[in-house]
C-alpha cells in the first residue's frame, strides 16, 4: 500500500441555485481543484463522484464539461457520507497502486431534488417514517436525552450554531454569512421541539473536488503535499444494540480505527471538520471522536476551545450549519477545508501551525439500524 497525497482542492459557491445544474456546480469545483495544483486535465486517470439525488452518470456529466473523459469513472452514494466514500474510493485506487492520479467529487443540487424544502419522505417499507419519524425529529429526541442526562441546555445547542455561523462569516463560500445571537437561534421557527430552524443545516446546492495522487507524482506539483494518514468508512449496527441514542457506536468505532491507522491520538489533532447537520449533534461528536471524555462535550464547547482561535477549532469552515450541506459534497468539502489549514491557506479562518486535521462524516437514517448508518473519518497531515 502506497502513501497518497492530496494536491488539489476546490469547491463551488454554496447556496440555493435552482437555475444551476449539478454538472455546472461540479465543473466549478473541478476547475478550481485543477487550477489549485495546475495539473493538466489529461493527467487524471480515475474519477469517483458522489451524489444522492437524483440521476445517474454524475461523474461523466461533470467531467465532460472540463475535458475529462474516456477513463474509469465510478459513481457512489452513501447518504451524507457519499463524498467521503468517493474520496476513499480514489484513495484506495492510488494506495493499491492501480492508478497514480485521481479526482474525487461530491455534488448535490438540493433545490432541484425531490426533497427541496421538505423533510425526506419515508420509503414504502419504512414503518417508522410513516409513523412520524423524521431526521430533525430523531435529533430532537437525542437533544431531549442530552438535556436530561448531562445538564445541557438549549442555549448550549444554540451556541454551536452561533459559533459555526461566526466561522461562516469568515468563509467567502458560505451560504450564510451572518452573525447570530443565542436569542435569534432559540427564537427561530421550531421544527421539532427543541430543535429550531437555526439549529438545522440548510438546503444547499454545491460541489467540492479533491485531486489525489501518489507521493512520487505529488512532488512534481507541490512542495507541500498533504498526506492522507487515515481513511476509514464503516456502516452501523442494529438499532436494538444502541442503548444510548446520544452515543454513535459506529462513530466511536471509526474514530478508534482512524487514530490507529494514523498512529496518533485525539490530542494530536489540530482541527476538525465534522457533521453538524443539527447543532446538538456537534457536542456528541466531540465525545465520539475522543476529543474529550464521555459526558464532557458540553464543557469543551463552553470552554471556547472549539472556536477559531481556540486550541481545537471545530468546523472553522462554518460547518454544515453555516457553510451549508449539499449532502454528497460535504464529505469532500470537509477534506478541502482541512487541506487549506494544513497548507496555511485558510486566511481569516486559519488554525495556527496546523499539522494534523480530522474530517468526519456521519449520515443515513435506515430503519432498524443506529441513526447515522454510515460513518467515515479521514485524517490528513502535512
Amino acid at each position: 500500500m502506497r502513501e497518497v497525497a492530496v494536491i488539489g482542492v476546490g469547491q463551488s459557491s454554496f447556496g440555493k441555485f435552482p437555475e444551476r445544474t449539478a454538472a455546472d456546480l461540479g465543473a466549478e469545483a473541478v476547475r478550481a481543484a485543477i487550477e489549485d495544483c495546475r495539473i493538466s486535465p489529461k493527467a487524471i486517470q480515475v474519477a469517483y463522484a458522489a451524489r444522492n439525488y437524483d440521476t445517474n452518470c454524475t461523474a461523466q456529466g461533470i467531467l465532460k464539461e472540463v475535458g475529462i473523459r474516456a477513463l474509469e469513472m465510478v459513481n457512489v452514494e452513501n447518504a451524507c457520507a457519499g463524498g467521503a466514500t468517493a474520496f476513499r474510493g480514489v484513495w484506495k485506487e492510488i494506495a493499491d497502486g492501480r492508478y497514480d492520479v485521481g479526482i474525487a467529487i461530491g455534488v448535490e443540487s438540493m433545490t432541484t431534488s425531490p426533497i427541496a424544502g421538505k423533510l425526506i419522505p419515508p420509503e414504502k417499507s419504512d414503518l417508522e417514517g410513516h409513523l412520524g419519524m423524521t431526521m430533525p425529529g430523531m435529533f430532537a429526541m437525542v437533544a431531549r436525552r442530552q438535556m436530561e442526562e448531562h445538564e445541557i441546555t438549549v442555549a448550549d445547542f444554540a451556541q454551536v450554531s452561533v459559533k459555526n455561523h461566526h466561522h461562516g462569516c469568515l468563509n467567502p463560500k458560505a451560504q450564510y454569512r451572518k452573525e447570530l445571537t443565542i436569542e435569534e437561534v432559540l427564537n427561530s421557527r421550531m421544527i421539532a421541539d427543541p430543535i429550531t430552524l437555526l439549529m438545522c443545516c440548510p438546503n444547499t446546492d454545491g460541489a467540492a473536488a479533491t485531486i489525489l495522487c501518489s507521493m512520487e507524482v505529488a512532488r512534481r506539483y507541490t512542495t507541500m503535499p498533504i498526506r492522507v494518514v487515515a481513511s476509514t468508512l464503516l456502516s452501523g449496527d442494529y438499532k436494538h444494540l444502541q442503548e444510548d441514542i446520544c452515543v454513535s457506536p459506529v462513530g466511536r468505532r471509526i474514530a478508534k480505527m482512524a487514530y490507529e491507522m494514523a498512529g496518533c491520538d485525539p490530542k494530536d489533532i489540530d482541527l476538525v471538520e465534522m457533521h453538524d447537520a443539527f447543532a446538538n449533534e456537534e457536542i456528541l461528536r466531540y465525545e465520539d471522536l475522543g476529543l474529550c471524555k464521555p459526558g464532557e462535550g458540553v464543557d469543551l464547547l463552553r470552554s471556547g476551545a472549539t472556536q477559531i482561535g481556540g486550541r481545537l477549532p471545530v468546523n472553522p469552515s462554518g460547518g454544515l450549519l453555516s457553510l451549508g450541506h449539499p449532502l454528497s459534497a460535504s464529505g469532500v468539502r470537509t477534506i478541502c477545508e482541512i487541506v487549506l489549514h494544513l497548507r496555511g491557506q485558510a486566511g481569516a479562518r486559519q488554525t495556527p501551525n496546523a499539522k494534523v486535521g480530522l474530517a468526519h462524516m456521519l449520515g443515513g437514517l435506515v430503519a432498524g439500524l443506529e441513526h447515522g448508518a454510515v460513518a467515515s473519518v479521514h485524517i490528513l497531515a502535512r
Binding site: 423533510l119 425529529g137 421539532a192 436494538h240
Partner: protein, 129 residues
C-alpha cells in the same frame, strides 16, 4: 363506507385495548419488535411470537412542528422502553398541555393514524398513564 386497514400486518391487534406482537429467539431469548425474520444477535432461526407489555417508560420524545408525511403539526412522537428490552418508536397521544417527561409511564392505545383514499389506517400509539 370506510374500510379500516392496519398500518402494517402482523404488528398488533385491537384485542383487550390493543396488543403488540413481537417475537423471541428460542436460543438466546432476545425479543424483537417489529418481529425479526431470525435472531440478529445469535443467528438463531427459531422464533416464537410474544405479546408485549402494554406499558413502558418514555425514553425520549419530541413534538413535530413541521408537517411529516402523514401528520400535520403539532404532533408528538416518542421512544418507549418496554420491560421486554424492546424500544418502540410510536406516535404519542397529544395532551392539551403537551407535557411529557422522560421516564413517564406510557400505555398502548390502538387508534386511527391517518386517512388514505377514504380508508382509515390504524396503528399503535402511546399515552401517558
Amino acid at each position: 363506507m370506510v374500510d379500516t386497514f392496519p398500518v402494517r400486518e402482523g404488528l398488533f391487534d385491537e384485542a383487550g385495548g390493543g396488543r403488540l406482537f413481537g417475537n423471541k429467539c428460542k436460543s438466546c431469548g432476545r425479543i424483537y419488535f417489529p418481529q425479526a425474520p431470525f435472531c440478529f444477535d445469535c443467528m438463531g432461526k427459531i422464533m416464537e411470537e410474544v405479546v408485549l407489555s402494554r406499558r413502558g417508560k418514555l425514553y425520549s420524545y419530541t413534538i413535530g412542528r413541521m408537517a411529516s408525511t402523514h401528520f400535520q403539526p403539532p404532533y408528538a412522537v416518542g421512544l418507549i422502553d418496554l420491560p421486554e428490552g424492546v424500544r418502540v418508536f410510536a406516535p404519542l397521544i397529544m395532551t392539551k398541555e403537551e407535557m411529557y417527561t422522560i421516564g413517564m409511564e406510557m400505555e398502548l392505545v390502538i387508534e386511527e393514524l391517518w386517512r388514505e383514499n377514504h380508508n382509515q389506517i390504524i396503528g399503535y400509539k402511546f399515552k401517558p398513564v
